[in-house]
Subunit: 251 residues, 2 copies
């Protein structure tokens, strides 16, 4: 009996992604190797790191000259001042800077640690990966190219791992979305008892990113996950819709 089972299928990329690489070509090659084909209504979740790398959003750390305040602050907590410098350069504003943690708002409007700048997972740790300039655009491009080249309609999510207030550990979140509504709005709908739901909306794009995170480990080369069987609502919304604009009590 099929009641709507969902499959999370990891895609294994054998090669390191480098600036200028065609991510679609890498994806198609990997799928062929795994004897898999994209299908209509798949959600393709891509870790931002491979998107950033293909778009050349990599900085050689040796080229970064940290400002004095970054050097002083980083030195106090034994962290790399050049990463702090990049985080400050990439930030729209600093939300909190305390106890060695730097929480900022990115130019896109996301609130996260170090403006998403990440010195791990890149050759030897001498380089840093920045967030894509416009993750929604990256997602939209991949989506339309898949439509043209492979001939299927999919949704794309570009994801990153963010920390959260009050809770330990990182969770994946959607920072770029194309082809689907990132929020599933229940307002006005009725539950199985006929009770009208007062609740707001479910952040399905973030839940999809989390689900993909279960198969896209940090220690293996599976930066892409195909989520098959989730009935998303097609739409032109973007990950910007996931940013709380008003009534945020913690901004």
């Amino acid at each position: 009996m099929d009641l709507g089972e969902i499959r999370l299928i990891p895609v294994y990329l054998a090669d390191e992604i480098r600036p200028g690489d065609d991510l679609l070509q890498k994806l198609v090659g990997a799928l062929q190797h795994q004897k898999l084909a994209l299908a209509n209504n798949d959600v393709v979740v891509v870790k931002h790191k491979v998107v950033s790398k293909s778009e050349g959003r990599i900085v050689q750390l040796e080229s970064v000259r940290p400002r004095k305040s970054a050097t002083l602050w980083a030195g106090r907590y034994g962290i790399d001042a050049r990463v702090v410098e990049l985080a400050l350069r990439e930030a729209k504003r600093v939300v909190r800077q305390k106890n060695g943690a730097l929480i900022t708002e990115t130019r896109h409007g996301f609130v996260c640690a170090n403006t998403g700048v990440d010195a791990s997972n890149v050759d030897g740790g001498t380089t840093a990966v920045l967030l894509p300039e416009n993750p929604d655009r990256s997602a939209a491009r991949l989506q339309s190219r898949i439509k043209k080249t492979v001939g299927v309609s999919v949704a794309i999510i570009v994801s990153d791992s963010f920390g959260r207030p009050w809770r330990e550990g990182l969770c994946e979140v959607a920072i770029g979305v194309a082809g689907m509504k990132p929020l599933l709005d229940y307002r006005g709908k009725r539950d199985p008892h006929g009770y009208q739901l007062r609740a707001t909306a479910e952040a399905v794009a973030d839940e999809l990113a989390c689900a993909a995170g279960l198969v896209c480990g940090k220690l293996n080369r599976t930066p892409i996950c195909i989520v098959r069987g989730f009935r998303y609502q097609p739409g032109r919304e973007s990950a910007r819709d996931l940013i709380r604009k008003k009534n945020d009590l913690f901004r």
Copy 2:
């Protein structure tokens, strides 16, 4: 080629769960109906609402007399003062109370809206469901009973939907965990490039809850999801380990 695919299998409960109901029996019956069997290393994610109901954590709203401050505040925003009263009774402390939103810390230590008190999804909306008294204990009991009765070792997650600062929409989180480590610690591990990861830990229990949320909709009767194929780390930790105790910049 199997590189670690994960399946999210919804479990359909035909009957409404009522106080005193045996959740294990309901689960086993539902699985038989779906021609499914639990397997070793499955993660069983259960929406807290069915756990709360089976444990009798239901309050008739007509029996609740709200304190004056609750009536005044609720009246200003057109919300049910009795729900506010219950939320205040169940809370350890109020984190924010503004613009009709009441964010509290539960006795367990979770920070969420209305102390998790929910007036939706219960017959006619005249009752409210509270969080389980001890969701870790609920999870542990279900886990050990499955081990005894069905003979398989599974992990259990009890989940609820929480809002988040800065981001729109609700996401599922783990409020009870048994049989697995809720955090996957990467510290000291090396990525495919041999780079030592500085990052902290991944909140896999929350990601599992989110994944389950994709098949456990609010509008259908599938409050349980079996996650099959995720290689969790067995452990005696609990959902309390997901609560940030120190270095929380937003408490």
